[in-house]
Amino acid sequence: MPDNFPLLPEQASTVAPSVDALFWTWVAISAFSALLIGIAIFYFFVRYQRRQTDEIGHQDHGSTALELTWTAIPLVIVLAMFVWGTRVFFDQSRPPADAVEYLATGKQWMWKFQHPSGKREINELHVPIHQPIRLTMISEDVIHSLFVPAFRVKADVLPGRYTTVWFEATKTGEYHIFCAEYCGTEHSLMGGTVYVMEQEDYEAWLAKAPGAVGGQVATGEELFTRFACNTCHFAGPRARGPNLEGAFGTVVKLADGSSVEVDEDYVRESILNPKAKVVSGFEPLMPTFQGQVTEDQLLQLIQYVKSLSGSQTAAAPGDHSGADGSAQTQGAAPASPTTGG
């Protein structure tokens, strides 16, 4: 019934049906309880209408048994619904291992997306159907929130820290993207469209779309050279910075004796604020790149650093080939997109 009811939003992702099942169960429970109370009130209201001005009601003091009953029953219901709701929430929160990573940057008042192939879009996002997709997101200014009602997913996009949203589209079509966290003058215009396409259509779109300039990793590698990162970060005893080969995902010891996991937030911090957490054995020589590198470029650099560890999150093995213009799909994520030249 929810399917053909015209007032309802499209179900276009794998989590949407489970969110809706949860929602409609709650609606049914609520409607039943509200009706029960409503009917009781209405009946008492008519049945026990006052007939003389000085009439008084029948006095009783209540009943502990009744109180316990109507404490226990709702308690059981809400706790059961809590368990169910939390399971759905974990599904919404935890992307599958084979999810392909796309990048998103929010700024007043637009969304910038980047495909694994390096293809960039503004306020539009083309994605292949039946492919789990993970958006790594950051804001350049205030808090935004990426919301795709048809996918039943939403996550705030924060300045200074990465957050994630994931979905797997199940239905081709065009769906709204909204900014759900109020962000200023044109908050209501900070939207866009996500286009869910068949795999082959998506690849065709990628191939003919202009402006695809190498994969995220390739762009990151280029930035790595342009910002001269490679003059210090290389393998060997003369390197002034830690070798990044295989570093991502490991836990490194810091100069002050503590340790930290090399994740996206740490790499970002190390570029913007290099002296904050210096790896043990190195001098704090690195200059800050604050103000020189954009959030988009940071994301690309991170993708490159990830690729040095062969991390699957760097995804799309086709990325490297993207740089030299070939368009091959391969590896663990068969549906993963690649670039055209």
Partner: protein, 99 residues
Amino acid sequence: MSLHVESKRNFFLVFGALMVLTMLTVYVAYFDFGAWNNVVAMAIAVAKASLVVLIFMGVRHSSPLTKLVVIGALLWMVFMVGLTLTDYETRGFLGVLGK
């Protein structure tokens, strides 16, 4: 509730104890107990505050209501700090960025 007048002697004893604890807190700050640094410093501060509350502020002889008010305020501090840190200490719980 009848009026209770605290003795001078108790006031001076508490004053002495507070002075000793102040010196102690500075003294122990010279040592590194690792993760226990905060615990030691806060334990001494709590001891000092308790002395002030119980004797100087007279809660020792106050009504149960006053005691309840003091305990309630502390409990609410625990709610606020505890639940906020529940978030900060479990960031990355799922191993997913921002989760």
